[in-house]
């Protein structure tokens, strides 16, 4: 099995995953700051919701990064 292809595949999976996560959490952060600016008293609740949804947004990209590292290191 040509290891070069495996490395490219791993890099693509991790890179595209990171791209998705960055855009997702970036938008989420922007909305969070807007809401916090509009209603500062809600910040504690907003913060827990932010982390919860950031975790969910991160889910599929992190699965991709996890699987790319699995492919890179564990698949021999």
């Amino acid at each position: 099995m040509d290891m070069g292809l495996v490395y490219i595949a791993g890099a693509l999976m991790a890179g595209l995953g990171a791209l998705g996560a960055a855009v997702g959490v970036g938008l989420l952060g922007g909305r969070f700051l807007e809401a916090a600016a509009r209603q500062p008293e809600l910040v504690p609740m907003l913060r827990t919701q932010f982390f919860l949804v950031a975790g969910l947004v991160d889910a599929v990209p992190m699965i991709a990064v996890g699987l790319s590292m699995y492919v890179l290191f564990a698949v021999v």
Partner: protein, 300 residues
């Protein structure tokens, strides 16, 4: 497996990614054909572990998760036994804090009526997965080295073949196992609350009404199966990537003093950031479990 003297970084990484798999031992012949030797034993290499196939068990994952589960149950039991409404001890306050936190979350996101399984399930999932993930903060070589030396002293085994993966949640078997249990509960409550007819109707009539039955079934079953799959793999992906970064940092330690000290800073920084990831992933697993079981209770 690289011999003791010339351990390469790739060999080091592979060594730390290998589970202690117990199963039917296999031997590879010269032509690369794996034949089973029939007697029980630990896998010497990754290839042998895959050859063992389905009927093999990751002893390290099982041991660590059961140990942590027992620790959790002992902690809560000891607090429950010595509970006193008069002067609460600090540990009692800590336990009450966790239980109230879980209770508020469950009351907030579970509206499916009286169900006295959800809160204890939420507590167990949150604390257990948090403890499993917490093992990721232990330095990478610490416990595997202890186990390897212990095994070589007690059983005279070659330490370079003793594998021990400390964090149970970096093993997809563990995370998918928990996700499948949650999936089983989802199905159980769906049938119990909505009845077989109701649940099947929900699966087949949902988005586009009666006449688009086949499309509905495809869409709904994909949604149904995606839930446990993403639930299990999310925890695995996060923890596996976090563990991998720790292992990569650990390989930097052997590259001289300057790079080693930089690696020390990296390790501290990543560990602090990882504390957030650990609690967040345990919290998300719990909240999604509650939400999925709550959806199973929703009667249309």
């Amino acid at each position: 497996m690289a011999s003791e003297s010339s351990i390469t970084s790739a060999g080091y990484i592979k060594h730390h990614l290998q589970n202690l798999t117990l199963g039917e031992k296999h031997v590879e012949s010269a032509t690369g054909v794996w034949t089973s030797t029939g007697e029980l034993g630990f896998a010497e290499s990754a290839q042998e572990a895959t050859q063992m196939g389905f009927w093999s068990i990751n002893v390290d994952t099982m041991f660590m998760s059961l140990l942590l589960g027992g620790l959790m149950m002992w902690f809560f039991r000891s607090v429950a036994k010595s509970i006193s409404s008069g002067v609460p001890t600090p540990t009692q306050n800590f336990a009450e804090m966790i239980i109230e936190f879980i209770n508020d979350t469950v009351r907030g996101s579970f509206s499916g009526g009286k169900n006295d399984l959800v809160a204890p399930l939420g507590l167990t999932i949150f604390v257990w997965i948090f403890l499993m993930n917490l093992m990721d903060l232990v330095p990478v070589d610490f416990i595997p080295m202890l186990v390897a030396q212990g095994a070589s002293v007690l059983f005279g085994v070659d330490p370079s073949h003793v594998y021990f993966k400390v964090v149970p949640s970096t093993d997809p078997n563990a995370t998918m196992g928990m996700a499948l249990v949650v999936f089983g509960l989802m199905l159980y409550y769906s049938f119990k609350v909505k009845g077989t007819g109701g649940f099947l109707a929900e699966l087949s009539l949902e988005p586009f009404g009666k006449w688009a039955l086949p499309i509905n079934i495809v869409l709904e079953t994909v949604t149904l199966l995606a839930k446990p799959f993403s639930l299990g793999l999310r925890l695995f992906g996060n923890m596996y990537a976090g563990e991998m970064v720790f292992i990569l940092i650990a390989t930097m330690y052997s590259a001289g003093l300057v790079i080693g000290s930089v690696a020390g800073l990296l390790q501290v920084g990543w560990a602090i950031f990882h504390i957030l990831i650990i609690t967040l992933q345990a919290f998300i697993f719990m909240v999604l479990t509650i939400v999925y079981i709550d959806m199973a209770h929703q009667r249309h």
